[in-house]
């Protein structure tokens, strides 16, 4: 018997530790559930962390109203299966109430409208910790995130005033009105996520696997055709074999041409891929510091 853990086992042990720590240190934590593979893995880890008890906190979905149908169906099925509570924060409602603004024009997305909706949902439900599936390898600004990330009473992130995080000692102390974002899978890479999904046989929305779909090519991005997209004069709808590497809104999530229909195919594709998964997200391409700007305002 060699007393050593293989890297996925060590990552799993670390994430379970973080989830239990969040549960123990906060009064009212929740999981931010987007329907994407990372939040699905966080939910899976939460099930393991508290087994045989049920997940002791709700899943929160910020619903932009621009979701893929597959995401919503998957979400509802998962919530039922694990017996978790679901809290929905509606972007449409926030827009109707004047809390958020809808963007206009061909490049309109509901990305920025998610921020006030999320902060409002956190405040209304008095969540003091929101756990998310962000990973440090995704994007430059995220490389500096802590496991326990402190937000002020405006829900903002101050990259220059983060608490140092030493050893495995997480400081979740806060003043009234402040909250934390907690990132249990900070140290996982895209490849780790896929290998873990395979190892644990975790179910995913069908969007991740190759399928036939009506799409629009815009710049370097392949977008799904949907009622929420406005075609530019020279654009046309075609049918292609694609899959998605990340799942966000219909209006911003770029598909990739792919024949990968099984986890093994996807893992092979990820291993060979020469683009980061966010490389296809129209929201990050707005400027080099786009993600950092949104994080400061309270993005996931």
């Amino acid at each position: 018997m060699s007393y050593r853990l293989e890297h996925l086992e060590e990552l799993e042990a670390e994430s379970i530790f973080v989830l239990r720590e969040a549960f123990a240190q906060f009064e009212n934590p929740c999981i931010l559930f987007s329907g994407g593979k990372d939040s699905i893995v966080v939910t899976h880890l939460a099930v393991k962390a508290f087994y045989p008890a049920k997940i002791p906190f709700p899943l929160v979905h910020i619903d932009t109203g621009h979701n893929f149908d597959e995401t919503i169906a998957f979400r509802d099925e998962l919530v039922q299966k694990i017996g978790a509570q679901l809290v929905i924060g509606s972007v449409q409602e926030a827009i109707d109430n004047g809390l958020a603004q809808d963007e206009k024009g061909v490049h309109a997305t509901r990305n920025t409208a998610q921020i006030p909706t999320l902060i409002d949902t956190i405040e209304k439900n008095q969540f003091d910790a929101a756990m998310g599936g962000a990973r440090r390898d995704e994007e430059k600004a995220r490389a500096k995130e802590r496991f326990f990330s402190h937000r002020d009473d405006f829900g903002q992130w101050d990259p220059k005033n983060q608490r140092p995080e030493l050893w495995n000692l997480f400081n979740g102390k806060k003043k009234f009105g402040e909250h934390f974002r907690v990132f249990p899978i900070s140290n996982w890479t895209e490849m780790d996520i896929w290998e873990y999904i395979k190892k644990e046989k975790i179910a995913l929305p069908s969007l991740y696997f190759s399928h036939e779909r009506e799409v629009i090519r815009r710049g370097g991005t392949i977008l799904a055709n949907s009622p929420f997209i406005t075609l530019k004069p020279n654009e046309k709808v075609t049918t292609e074999i694609v899959r998605f590497r990340t799942i966000g809104d219909l209006t911003i999530t770029g598909a990739v041409e792919s024949e990968a229909s099984t986890l093994d195919h996807i893992i092979a594709e990820v291993a060979a891929a020469r683009e980061t998964e966010r490389g296809n997200r129209a929201d990050d391409q707005r400027s080099e510091a786009a993600m950092e700007e949104r994080k400061k305002e309270g993005y996931f």
Partner: protein, 415 residues
């Protein structure tokens, strides 16, 4: 990919080429994606550079990009067929000792960069002292910019001797020297053709072969309880699972254990890792334990083997690195967090403050500024169950928290 995880930290002075080295490691091990490469190529051109500036890959935040220096700990990931690596990239600038300590706290190895033209300088000493203080098991001393000293063996050997002289005063278990050029790629991932006189491994080869599991303490079983799992269902009516991550050692079914602070004893009935039942478990696994007897255990308690118990005291000697904006005060009161246990602590004595430039002790101080390191005595409101940091990083470390703004202000290592 099967393989272990190696966490390492990097330290260097501002112009030692640390970011370039990391960029080179990522590039040569094919861990940079096309869009990332395109972005930095683009920026390099804008800045009027002939070659790709790899440091742009790791300098994450906008403010830093403008200032051109790294100002916080950033984590990077790459893997080879043999191992997964996590880099804690920390700045070398003087006022950021706190970041270096943070990065070092979880590292199995440290890379220390020395500019071949300058040799061992004060910052090298400071970085090495921190590596020693934080008990990083392996130190790789990279003598960089060998291209600027014509790849001469003499320059390398001279610095090596210089470093060895100084390191004799420190407590580093294992250190190795590698002559490299991060800019040109010599001995980082690929063996240098310019330094045939060097027969040792490349940097990446060294990183791939550091024995990670051997650094864990497999002797002293320590289990800090994070929370108690009580399902309240018919199926698991009387179930009480003590959940936590094993700090050190090995636990088997049937082991006689003692809970602290109650001193109540019982035997291990079952060990769970989610839905799996294990016969034995070891650090750093996250598990839950069922005991034969229904004894009162809650968060902050520690389960240990009855025959191998930690120290149990309210008076503790420690080294501390200060990170707070307000100086540490003699007789100052702070919150303390140690394993899953919290309480309050008072600084009873500042035995000495370390002069990081001269590596000398200064006695008689009553305060200590941010980025200072000192030996202190503290008294806690609740007993802590601990081992010396040297024998157990998990049960030998604690943090102090400011009671007014709740910031983490001190990183403590128990002596």
């Amino acid at each position: 990919m099967k393989g272990e995880l190696l966490r390492f930290t990097t330290a260097g002075s501002v112009d030692d080429g640390k970011s370039t080295l990391i960029g080179r490691l990522l590039y040569d091990s094919k861990s940079i994606f096309q869009d990332q490469l395109a972005a930095i190529e683009n920026t390099s051109k804008k800045k009027g550079l002939d070659e790709i500036d790899f440091s742009l890959l790791t300098d994450g935040l906008k403010d830093e990009r403008e200032q051109g220096i790294t100002i916080d700990v950033a984590y990077r990931y790459f893997n080879t067929p043999n191992r997964k690596f996590i880099i804690a990239d920390t700045p070398g600038h003087i006022q950021y000792t706190r970041n270096m300590v943070t990065g070092a706290s979880t590292a199995n190895a440290a890379l220390i960069l020395i500019d071949a033209r300058n040799g061992v300088i004060e910052q090298t000493k400071r970085h090495s002292y921190i590596a020693s203080l934080l008990q990083i098991p392996h130190v790789l001393v990279c003598i960089n910019k060998m291209d600027l000293v014509n790849y001469e063996k003499g320059a390398f050997e001279k610095i090596k001797e210089q470093y060895k002289d100084f390191a004799a005063k420190l407590d580093i278990q294992d250190f190795k020297f590698i002559p490299i050029s991060a800019l040109k790629g010599d001995n980082v991932v690929n063996r240098s053709k310019n330094m045939e006189w060097y027969n040792g491994p490349t940097l990446l080869h060294s990183l791939e072969n550091i024995p990670v599991a051997n650094d864990l303490n497999h002797i002293d079983f320590r289990f800090a309880v994070q929370t108690v799992l009580r399902p309240h269902t018919d199926e698991y009516h009387d179930y009480r699972g003590y959940a936590g991550r094993i700090s050190s050692g090995i636990l088997r079914i049937g082991d006689q254990v003692t809970a602290l602070p109650s001193q109540m004893q019982s035997r291990v009935k079952k060990i769970h890792c989610a839905h799996l039942e294990l016969q034995e478990a070891y650090a750093p696994q996250s598990i839950s334990i069922e005991l034969e007897d229904d004894i009162d255990i809650s968060r902050g308690d520690m389960v240990v083997k009855t025959t191998n118990q930690p120290q149990n005291s309210q008076e503790i000697d420690a080294m501390i690195c200060w990170m707070g904006e307000n100086p540490m005060q003699l007789n100052g009161k702070y919150s303390i967090q140690h394993t899953s246990r919290s309480g309050r602590a008072i600084i009873k004595e500042i035995v000495y403050v370390v002069d990081l430039n001269e590596l000398k002790r200064i006695e008689g101080k009553t305060t200590m500024e941010k980025n200072g390191i000192a030996r202190i005595k503290i008294k806690t409101t609740t007993p802590l169950f601990f081992d010396s940091y040297r024998t157990n990083r998990n049960t030998g470390s604690f943090i102090l928290i400011d009671e007014t703004n709740f910031n983490t202000v001190g990183a403590g290592m128990i002596i």
